[in-house]
């Protein structure tokens, strides 16, 4: 039952790829495209940027997580919120803000639009995706394990290497997967940063040259790259896991004293969120202050856009949560090859440019459910397909945090699997469910490309309204300011909820989540018991 539902979900999320094949792609087209120097250049740049941004986000994400969980840096909670804040800023807004800020305050510098500069800008906006899982993993590490290593080897550093670093691996893999796929499919920010990637080439074929066949063919190449990312991150996650050692009470890991470095290190760390969201806040506030009376944006327009945005985001989060469940449940409880493949398949749709996905949905909706085309249902479906992986990934973490023993105990007391699920896994794994839903809502509220195409006529979300103020290919921050301000402000709510959730007091069941983020803590008998039980489903 679960398997059938999971496969159905994965199949549905792969449906857009049917469009790629159905409407025609050709290897010839790809070959012709690759004969152009700019396309091969774009391909190389895509790879370089992906590697660069992954490297930077891994460093930033892990370092910030260590700082917050393992050192005596002041106000760790506030720091956590600040490190997560970049998630509230849509990619194209942040990129244009920093570009505009450079033009205003340091014209002629050209740092932001250079390859390393663009890499840094992207990394600053994406590193929370690595920071959050690292934070969870580090908090979950059982301090007694590190203490054991310290007594054996006498070095705190080697204790960290032996215990916490392996725990970080799956967290890094999970975060980097999201980061890499974001870099691959990013359009708006790349354009603002003057970078040429496979996705900007695909969009140019569509928008500038009206050559959809080439666009679809190049998309296939992008799918290839995404598959590579899926393989590499799977390898990065590793096969080893820390066995859940029995312990009575959970306690937070020890913190290393920063001593005299406490303030300088914190100041340096504060630079990260400052650089990430500072330009957006600066340009938005500046835009609000210098607003001319002629600025077309009326605050009265903002209200409907806000409620539309929130409505769609919440709907997408709820549907994605429900739909992700069979996939995450199946892959957590029965990590067989089919289950793993199903889980990986869900990620593929995350990697193609959302404009291609939207076109595919236009194609499918007008043929399968013509009455629903241009209705909210299709847009919500698009959000669900796009952001389903975020829900699946977080639900997995949540479900894996639930000790198998609890399920076994419930089963031995005669509880059926479904009841065990609603009484044990759902409540204990809820943090993963909620985190997934929040991330889906957050990303849906920022989405632009698919929204533009599938939004019901005359409706507007904050993103599309903000986009509509772009004049002369650049954001006019005086007209866009109200929308930008609101987008960031409503983004702060889920970010805060997310952080509060992540920092919830450690319970015995939550500790250890990080160890097994990609691997169940299976004990032989438990595994068998669960399989026997679910055979009844």
């Amino acid at each position: 039952m679960t398997a059938l539902a999971a496969v159905t979900v994965a199949g549905a999320s792969l449906l857009p790829f049917g469009y790629l094949f159905f409407t025609g792609i050709s290897a010839n087209e790809i070959r012709t495209q690759l004969s152009y120097p700019a396309t091969t250049g774009a391909l190389v740049q895509t790879l370089v940027l992906t590697v660069l941004v992954c490297g930077l986000t891994a460093l930033l994400g892990a370092a910030c997580a260590v700082l917050v969980t393992r050192t005596t840096a002041p106000v760790p909670r506030l720091l956590t919120v600040l490190f997560t804040l970049p998630l509230a800023v849509p990619g194209f807004v942040g990129a244009y803000a920093i570009y505009a800020a450079e033009l205003v305050f340091a014209p002629g510098l050209g740092v932001v639009t250079s390859l390393p500069g663009a890499g840094c800008v992207l990394a600053l906006s994406l590193f929370p995706y690595v920071f959050l899982p690292c934070l969870i993993a580090l908090r979950g590490v059982d301090p007694s394990l590190e203490e054991v290593v310290v007594t054996l080897r006498g070095s705190k550093l080697s204790a960290f290497r032996a215990v916490s670093l392996p725990a970080l691996r799956p967290a890094l893999a999970a975060g980097l997967l999201i980061v890499a796929l974001h870099v691959l499919s990013e359009y708006g920010a790349m354009v603002q940063l003057g970078r040429s990637t496979l996705t900007t080439k695909i969009m140019a074929e569509m928008i500038d040259y009206g050559d959809y066949r080439s666009a679809r063919s190049l998309s296939l190449l992008l799918v290839g790259l995404a598959s590579l990312v899926l393989l590499v991150t799977r390898w990065l996650a590793g096969r080893g896991w820390v066995t859940d050692v029995a312990r009575g009470t959970a306690r937070p890991p020890r913190r290393a004293s920063l001593g005299a470095w406490r303030l300088p290190v914190t100041a340096l760390a504060l630079l990260v969120p400052l650089l990430a969201v500072g330009p957006t806040v600066l340009m938005t506030v500046r835009g609000l202050l210098v607003r001319r009376p002629t600025s077309a944006t009326a605050w009265s327009d903002v209200g409907p856009a806000l409620s539309t945005t929130v409505g769609y985001a919440v709907a997408a989060a709820l549907v994605a949560t429900a739909v992700a469940l069979p996939v995450s449940w199946w892959v957590t409880r029965h990590p067989s090859l089919p289950a793993q493949l199903t889980e990986r398949a869900v990620w593929l749709a995350h990697a193609i440019p959302s404009a291609i996905l939207a076109l595919a949905l236009v194609f499918l909706a007008t043929r399968l459910v013509p009455a629903l085309y241009k209705s909210p249902a299709v847009l919500v479906a698009a959000y669900v397909i796009l952001f389903l992986p975020l829900a699946v990934a977080n639900q997995r973490v949540g479900l894996q945090a639930v000790r198998r023993a609890y399920g076994d105990v419930a089963a031995s007391l005669g509880s059926r699997p479904a009841r065990t699920f609603t009484r044990i896994h759902l409540p204990l794994g809820s943090s993963g469910f909620i985190a997934g839903a929040i991330l889906v809502a957050l990303d849906a509220s920022k989405e632009l490309t698919a929204t533009l195409m599938l939004l019901p006529f005359n409706a507007g979300t904050l993103s599309t309204k903000l986009w509509a103020t772009t004049n002369g290919e650049s954001l006019d921050f005086s007209a866009a300011a109200p929308y930008a301000a609101l987008l960031v402000l409503i983004g702060i709510v889920p970010v805060y909820l997310l952080v509060r959730h992540t920092l919830a007091p450690l319970g015995p069941t939550q500790a250890g989540a990080g160890h097994q983020a990609d691997r169940p803590a299976a004990t032989g008998s438990g595994q068998d018991l669960i399989s026997t039980l679910s055979a009844h489903e």
Partner: protein
């Protein structure tokens, strides 16, 4: 002992059913609520409000457009005020979306920014011819040669320059001069649609060899800033002395900054008839599949008429985006009369069918994206 065990399992089963059932109902209720909010959020704007229109025609035209949202909003609002006809607007529309919709195509009218989308739709056989009287209202040479679309606005290719970096007297006299050695590294360009159109024009007048060597030299001499807006911004910031772009980018920035005198950079039109002054149309077309063809044709007639849409396009930057009106006898209150631009004459449909230019630019590594 053995008999009590199944009983208790049974009891658990019943309770489980009730519990998860309740959870499911709660979840579904929440989902429906959220969806309702989503629909509700959009409805105030979606609802065509016949009660507020002067006469109560219930016609609604669906307009697909890639033109600046503000201009389309100004135009459709003015038409609604005048006739009561309301609009469904798809912004950032692409030919691809219309193709993907197939038989379910929604659009009655397409309003393009560059000539190529309407030309492409025409080539695909998706357009119905525009009424002759409508075409007559517009200056000759700007609309489709096959009467498949009508020009309703126009933009001109220009050279921006920053007087702190280069004196007006030192500017190139014609576009072809920009490849001269003294301009090396001093100017920006962008591989925009208008740049493709310029290339296509050069191909048809200069031939492939001369165009190819010109483009190679231009690439060598200049800096690719990817987007026309960036060409403007970087010239204004003094990063480049000059930049090839479209006229209205400069006027939009001027309006944002509080007037043309607030900008450092200036606009240069080449003094004689020159490919550097190319004028490109924004086109309006009626889709063959339209169920409201008659109403759609009426809208196009209004859009191109001296006292209708052209007045909106002649208006201030905030509504017109500083485009040139194209009806005979109408000049822009911002940028003046289109006749002042010394653009060479050419067939707009030929220019928009720019596959040859695109191929050449891609081969030279000068394509967009």
């Amino acid at each position: 002992m053995t008999s009590s065990s199944p009983k208790s399992t049974g009891g658990a089963q019943v309770r489980r059913g009730r519990l998860s059932g309740r959870a499911t109902i709660a979840f579904l209720a929440l989902s429906v609520l959220a969806l309702a909010t989503a629909c509700g959020g959009s409805s105030p704007t979606t609802a065509d409000n016949p009660s507020t229109s002067p006469n109560s025609t219930s016609t609604t035209l669906t307009v697909y457009t890639d033109q600046h949202a503000e201009l389309v909003e100004s135009l459709t609002k003015a038409y609604t005020d005048a006739t009561g006809v309301t609009f469904n607007i798809q912004n950032d529309a692409t030919v691809g979306q219309i193709q993907a919709e197939g038989d379910q195509a929604k659009a009655d009218v397409f309003l393009s920014e560059d000539p190529s989308p309407v030309a492409l739709l025409g080539k695909d056989g998706l357009l119905a011819p525009v009424e002759e009287s409508t075409l007559q209202q517009v200056r000759p040479g700007l609309s489709s040669g096959q009467d498949l679309w009508v020009a309703y606005a126009a933009r001109a290719r220009v050279l921006f320059y920053n007087p702190t970096k280069v004196a007006e007297s030192e500017l190139p006299v014609k576009l072809a001069d920009i490849t001269e050695p003294q301009y090396k590294g001093t100017f920006a360009w962008a591989p925009s649609g208008a740049f493709v159109a310029t290339t296509q024009y050069l191909l048809s007048t200069w031939g492939e060899d001369k165009t190819t060597s010109f483009l190679k030299e231009l690439k060598e001499n200049g800096v690719n800033e990817q987007k026309n807006g960036k060409v403007r911004d970087t010239v204004e910031a003094g990063q480049h002395a000059m930049g090839l772009s479209n006229h209205y980018y400069w006027w939009i920035l001027a309006a944002e900054k509080g007037g043309p005198d607030q900008l450092t950079s200036k606009i240069h039109h080449f003094p004689t008839e020159d490919p550097g002054n190319l004028v490109l149309s924004s086109g309006a077309a009626v889709l063959k599949s339209s169920q409201n063809a008659a109403e759609a044709q009426k809208f196009l007639a209004w859009l191109t008429s001296k006292d209708g849409g052209q007045q909106v396009i002649a208006g201030p930057v905030e509504v017109s985006g500083a485009q040139y009106p194209v009806a005979t006898g109408v000049a822009s209150s911002v940028v003046g009369d289109l006749d002042a631009i010394k653009s060479p004459a050419f067939d707009m449909d030929v220019l928009a069918d720019s596959e040859q230019a695109e191929e050449l630019l891609k081969r030279l590594g000068m394509s967009s994206g």
